[in-house]
Structure formats: structure tokens, C-alpha cells
Amino acid sequence: MTSSTLPPVENAESPDAPALVKRHHGLVRVAHWLNAIVLLGMIASGLQIYQAFPHFGQKGKVYPVPNPFDSGHFPSGFPEWARLGGWLAGGLQWHFALAWPFVLTGLIYLAFLVFTGEWKALLFRPRDVKPAIAMQLYYLRLRKEHPPQGKHNALQKAAYTFIVVLGALSAITGFAIYKPVQLAWLTRLLGGYELARYWHFLAVWIFIGFTLLHVALVFLVDPASLRAMLTGWYRGRFPSHD
């Protein structure tokens, strides 16, 4: 389906029968899908919590931050199917329970990347800037050939580095509003409780945007990567693993 629009890369061993390569360690796959479920629950319970005060700022003093979901112009609030917990206490319980696997999965995943050296295939570094531009030109149809790549292209590296940073920022802003007195230094660093709560909420929409793009690109560019994330084995257009 994709070969008609995007030709196979030249360095593929044989365009007719791409090699079957081991792509993702079991730990990475478990972390990926566990994180997908946990994040869904974190977002749904977070929307339930948000519903208790659908503004940002102090009581009676709404901050002038962009928020299409302020109840002032979003009176219906988030639909029931998008919320988890049933009411504020339920939302809090889910949120604070799921925070554990969210943070622990993230830390275990990062430790795995460091110990195995896998981070090299994922971390976006200054030397990836040029290939990233080449990749972007290719996606914009301004460049004919797919730039050569290893396990991930430079844009993927940028995306996967960014999403780890976003995950860390979600946890950090979450702690800042969970313990604004014990971690007052952190809350202050983020601009105070009210703004930290806003950054925490903003991260939700970036996560959702990332996920939509991520899933779309999987199916449009490299459907074989979905199987790789499920089974660990990859047979597709980008068999190199550097």
C-alpha cells in the first residue's frame, strides 16, 4: 500500500523480501503498551479532576491563559465517556494510583535505554538537525529519495526524544501541584501553583496530538512497525538497526 507512494529505501537488502529483524526488546514493548493504557487512564481521570474547577487561576481571578475548555465558553464540560472516576474523589484516586506505573514505567524504560545503549538510536542530537530537515523535505515531497536511515530517522528521533521530555514534564508539573508546599521550590520554578496546573493540562493536548500523529504515521509510512511493537520482529522498509 505504501510502496506506490513511498519507494523502498535503497539500502534495504532485498526490496522484494525484506529481512526479518528483531527490533524491540520485550521490555520496550511492555513499557510502550502499558504506558499507552496508563496514559489513557491518567488523561481521563485528569479531565474528571479538571471538571471540578474548569478554569486556571485563583478563585474569582481567572488567569489570561488560552483555554478553550474554560467552562465560560465550554459549559458542557468533557463528556462522560472521556472521564474516569465518576466524580472528583474517584478521579483523584485513579489519577494518583496510575501515577505510580506511569512514573515507574518511564524510569525503567529510561534505565533500559541507558544500560543497553539503545538511547543512541533514539536521542535527538545536534548532528540530527540536517537529516531531520532532509526528512521533512521528503515528507513535503520537495525531495525525491527517502534519506538513508537506521532504526529511526532523524524526525522520529526528534519525536521520541520530545515525548520522553513531555512525559517527564507531565510528572514534574504533576508533583508541583500535588505538593505545592513541600515542593514549593518546584512550584515556584514553574510560575506558581495555578500556572503549573496549566502546564500540566497543556501537556494533555500535546500528548493527544502526538498520539494521533504517531498512529497516523505508523499506518501511512511503516505499518510493519506496529507488528514490531507487538511481537518484537520487524519485516519492512527500514531493516537497518543502527
Partner: protein, 238 residues
Amino acid sequence: MTDRGLDRRDFLRLGLVAGPAALVAACGWDGGDLIRPKLNAISRINDWVGEHVLLSSSRPAPTYPASARSGTMPSYFISDTTPLPPDPAAWALEVGGLVRKPTRFTQPMLEALPSLSYTVKHHCVEGWTAIASWAGVPVSTVVAMVEPLPAAQYIRFDSFDRNYYNGWDLKSAMHPQTILAYAHNDQPLRPDHGAPLRVYSPIKLGYKLTKYLTRMTFTAERPGGYWEDQGYPWLGGL
């Protein structure tokens, strides 16, 4: 099996992942009878971490100048109308339980004790905040006077706002900024804010700050709380 597509097994695996996710996301689910107890258990772990790892017994909450006060300071009670003491002249705070010297504190007695006042940020569990000033007697002062027994681990605060009550850990109660407040924004505490006496502390969420106080009881067993018994975090620590 095609190279790029998914085989049946892959779809089955995907289903195993997506199934529970969809179930969890459905219809504002609070976990049902199966999961709710487990969520409660994790909440207890979070309370433990909050009290024993994150809470400092002395670190003060940030204070603000009086000019930073918010225009509004919402007030909540569970009675249908603003609770008033049944007999204002006879009101007193009974302090008892596991203590050597159970004491009955009248309003003049409390006002004669050294007081603390501050302007701090109030955090409601709902997500709003408001800055206001409070004044009263540090709980630690009262604790020193009644001399708790070694077995006393918690304090239960009772009110005349129907059956509203809260349980506190001693560490938070003994925090220097935890007070029995009788004044709000330089005025005597108003009935809608818990007159004649309420708990105030900038280190706990608003629902932990018992208004309309009647009794302070030292216990060995952890007391619950009006909202805490319904699923709100027991510690409610900030």
C-alpha cells in the same frame, strides 16, 4: 502472513491491550466494587509517602503580604444553612482522648494564649486557590497543655456542622503553621467560615480544615473523615 500487515495473532494481542483500556475509559467508571478497594489501598500508600517521605514537620508554607489577599474566599459547609453553635455563650472546645490533662477551652481562654497570624494560599481539592489571612492559637500550644499519652498518634476534630469531622496525623497537627483560628482577614471569624473556631493550616487541602469545632480527641487508631470516608485522600497534604 503479509509482510506489512497484521496477522490474526497480532490483532488478538492488540485487542488484549485495547480492551481493558476502552473498559477503563468508559463511562466515568470509579472502579466498581472490585477495583475501588484497591484504589483505596493505593491511596493509603500515597498517604504514607506523603506523611513520611514528603512532609517536613517544620518547613513553612510560603506567606504573602496582606495586599495579596484574594477578593473572594469561598466557604463550604454540609448543613443546609450556615451552622451556628446551639448555645453560643456555652460554646467551648473539649480536648480529650489519650491525654493526661483533658481540658475544656472557652473562647476567652483561647484568646488569652499566644496567637499566630499569617497570610497564606488556600488550596481547594477542586483546584482553585485563594489567598487570605488567618489568626489563632497554634495547635502545638494546645497539645503541649493537654499532654498527650505516648499511644496518641492521631487527632480527631469534630464539629457542629452536622456530622462533619476530620482525622489528622500528629506531624501535620504539630506543624508550626497549623492553628485553631478565630480570626479571618483581621476580623473575627464569620459563621460562614467556621465561627467560632476552626482548624486552619496552609499545609493541607481545604476539606481537612475542620470548621465549627467542638472537640479535639487524641486517638491511637486513625480516624476517618467526612469526605475522606467517601474517597478523598486521607492525608490531603500539600
